[in-house]
Subunit: 394 residues, 2 copies
């Protein structure tokens, strides 16, 4: 048994935030039907690299779904989509604000014929926002949310995360909203509209940085790889690279000085007595520690730090991480047979449920791979399907 067995999801989606959300719902047992235009969504062609004709980009967000092509620019296409929505529990859409309305598929309209429907919209700034008409690309939101201004080095430029951070976070909040609405429906019998904005989602991650601003009135700045209120807690250079050392408590700090750095006098230095002292005098402390750390390799430091029980870590490449035995043991790298690409690897699902676990049900679909199957489930016969295909509607 999977947690979302019996839940049907219609996915009017493209790029990342919608697809990530519905992929997770699919992993957890929902029957997800992805609706694509007959030419396929843009992200099928975002590459290289490609595998079996599909962009790795598309493969990353679309397993555990079935796929139907529909030309929603035609009345017949809209008719099919309405039939799908009529039988669904959840609709997810991450089109620009106004696109669903133009198709006659606003929440008001579809809830009239499916009042139990949970309708989740994901957009850049939100459906009731004064900025609702602005497009919502992740790179914009990384800048507009404040994230880039606090990421990177004081002497360098604002810095973007190396993946679509706001899309990812919004996708997770969308899942959360849908699960909450499904639970609420058990009691009320009604569906509802969920309105997720990329900007709200990423702003919510400012957490203590926002709290610091609210408390002090001072906007936080880029601090490189250090922490504003924990020291030493940052990246240090070694002889052959970098490593992270995170001495987050007084006990760890003292153990670090005595057992690893062999500089017990540091613990008595008035500049470094308490965490507050170390926060203020971080540049001096960093210089003292780094003078030592550049003399040994990362491997040597990790060994010393681990032996002393000091939290530490490596800067690993994506390739190293994904070949890691620990992650494989955790099911975070999964192999799946794909119709054209053969055996492909996918990231696993990080939510481990002991009694009703999810799984990757299906490989990412080919364009329109399940069009016929889904149309038949809606009651169309072979003749009608042939005609819809001939007209280019599916």
């Amino acid at each position: 048994m999977k947690p979302l067995d019996g839940i049907k999801v219609i996915a009017c989606e493209h790029f990342i935030a919608g697809p990530l959300c519905t992929m997770i719902l699919g992993d957890m047992g929902a029957d997800v039907i992805k609706v694509e235009p007959p030419q396929g969504e843009t992200s099928r062609s975002l590459g290289p690299p490609f595998l079996g004709g599909e962009a790795a980009y598309y493969l990353s967000f679309n397993r555990s779904k079935r796929d139907i092509t529909i030309d929603t620019g035609t009345p017949e296409g809209i008719e099919i989509l309405k039939k799908l929505i009529k039988g669904a529990d959840v609709l997810v859409e991450n089109y620009r604000v106004g696109v669903m309305e133009k198709m006659g598929l606003s929440y008001q309209e579809v809830s009239a014929f499916n009042p139990r429907l949970i309708y989740c919209s994901i957009s850049g700034y939100g459906h009731d926002s004064p900025l609702r008409d602005k497009p919502g690309f992740d790179a914009m939101i990384q800048g507009e949310s404040g994230f880039m201004d606090i990421t990177g080095f004081p002497e360098g430029p604002p810095t973007r995360a190396g993946f679509a951070l706001s899309d990812n976070v919004a996708g997770l909040y969308a899942v959360q909203g849908i699960l909450l609405a499904l639970m609420a429906r058990e009691k009320t019998g009604r569906g509802q509209h969920i309105d997720i904005a990329l900007i709200d989602s990423l702003v919510s991650f400012l957490t203590y940085q926002a709290g610091n601003y609210f408390a002090s009135g001072e906007s936080p700045h880029r601090l490189g790889n250090r922490h504003p209120v924990i020291t030493p807690y940052e990246m240090f250079a070694s002889k052959d690279g970098y490593f992270i050392l995170a001495a987050g408590t007084q006990r760890l700090w003292e153990r670090l000085c005595h057992e690893v750095l062999k500089l017990p006098e540091l613990t008595k230095d008035p500049r470094f007595l308490t965490m507050a002292d170390r926060n203020v005098n971080q540049p001096q402390l960093k210089a003292i520690i780094e003078e030592l750390t550049v003399q040994k390799s990362t491997d040597e430091w990790i060994e010393l730090l681990e032996a002393a029980g000091i939290p530490c870590g490596r800067i690993r490449t994506v390739g190293t991480v994904l070949e890691d035995e620990n992650l494989k043991a955790r099911g975070m790298v999964v192999e799946k047979q794909h119709p054209t690409a053969g055996k492909i690897r996918l990231l696993g699902n990080p939510v481990n449920l002991s009694d009703t676990p999810g799984e990757i049900n299906l490989p990412p679909p080919l364009l329109g791979q399940h069009t016929e199957e889904i149309l038949k489930e809606l009651g169309y016969n072979d003749e009608e399907i042939k005609e819809l295909k001939a007209k280019g509607i599916v």
Copy 2:
């Protein structure tokens, strides 16, 4: 009505991942009881800044909860905690692996007396991992997950996100797991164990960067603020700062050249014809565009780009973002009266549910603010409570 009305959550937690998770559950209607040691959890003292004696850091993760102090180093303390757990639907813990076991509160032990309990553990590497005994601080995980190696500039060092990214992501996956387990319990009648690892959580965000590695066998590198397969889609310097320009489609690219840059010849330049061409020749294209962009201010460029319908954005400071009228209209900045700090501002909840919305129920609690109230709910009388206090157990 709120989605989690009637759900009782016991929070054995500190720092971020656990507190963020239970704060969200509290916003959505759950009765969250946070268990703190009599001296308070470390994050109450992580500062400055402080407000009314509380660290802004603590205030950021702990609204919508009640608070009880328990010395879990005593048999009487464990007894109180067991009573709390006995009456709970959910237990969240983000202690080091083994700490709950030492208290006799492993999943096996507590499910024996509360088989409907949903028990969510959050740790650095996961409870069944070969690395389970390693501590799990966010800064380590940002390095170990591959995130830092793909964030920053090719000529610069690996770069940490300006907040506790892996903690935040793990907190959201924990919420997700708990909601899924609550739904499953409706059918099975049983609780279950949820095992969330910071490393799995942040690795899941590698998405297309992992997909690119799986497809090509080549580990992605830091690309600064550009996108690997969309160009131009990055930050440009202006006369007085920076801005983001995200021309994610062929149509937008052509409009950018004609209407904004006034360089129609670029669309015919063989180096920049298709997205794939622009991806390969990104450095040349960036140089051409930036030669223009440094001649005007960010305000001027944003106006020109918006007029032409080209997605664009500013690099905003955290302070600017949090004073933004749009975010306030979205309920993302909320005022709440705090017992010692007076009126404080908090980030709102980004999950907007039209029919059963969440809300910030309670301000972040003072240490042990609800100890008596909660003990009385467990059946302790005034005499007993007085004795527990005298002994320093609560």
